[in-house]
Symmetry: C2
Subunit: 132 residues, 2 copies
């Protein structure tokens, strides 16, 4: 049996066909984003070594970095105790967030409940996502 | 306005009333688990300083550690770019996983697609979750 088929068989996709995924940068340990995969997204991720997600908002497969070039290269694939969520360790090119920050979690709540940016911008979104 | 109300207002709960949450151990950087919160779970988490989740499988609020004593104490609350997912940094008591491992992601797929345990057991589940 193929590696990919073997992995797919172990994952408990929810009734909507999706599994939640946390993506962590291998070098820094930073959690980059949290998203979803369907079977096809997981297959493509495993076959290409680049993270693919299923974008629920637009209902389609999405190769992270397809527009920006900021790919995430898979370093390790882990599964939780119930096999109903995944943790990927990746090598993140430049930065993960479409707003130009390394992690999508670039804001933190303070003691008063106000949000503060806690990271520096790595790239300018207007440059990377050219306005058409 | 109260801190908790201010935070709740910033979160984009999905149509099912839930928001996905990644929980990371502050000291080690390990991703411990991935779960969901509804408004009440987030309120309780913020008011008590202990992680509360909404268990979809049983449809109820769950204080992590309520049975095992393995609480997760909140150290920081971060939100992603779309404010539709959360990252909590926590101080994990002993271990997060009900199988006795520090992280629920204690297994990794190898090059052949086989799963391997990559961590050591911290506690014996039979001892902690006494059979009644």
């Amino acid at each position: 049996m193929e590696r990919i088929e073997r992995i797919l068989q172990r994952i408990n996709f929810k009734s909507d066909g999706l599994v939640p995924v946390a993506t962590q940068d291998e070098k820094t340990g930073q959690v980059l984003m949290l998203a979803y995969m369907n079977r096809e997204a997981l297959e493509r991720t495993l076959s290409t070594g680049k993270m693919h997600y299923f974008r629920r908002a637009v209902g389609r497969l999405w190769c992270k970095g397809e527009e920006s070039g900021k790919f995430q290269y898979v370093k390790a694939v882990r599964v939780n105790c119930y096999a109903d969520s995944l943790l990927f360790l990746v090598d993140q090119v430049d930065a993960a967030c479409h707003e130009g920050y390394f992690s999508c979690y670039f804001r933190e709540f303070d003691e008063e409940g106000n949000l503060h940016v806690i990271a520096e911008r790595i790239f300018d979104p207007d440059e990377v996502y050219k306005k058409k």
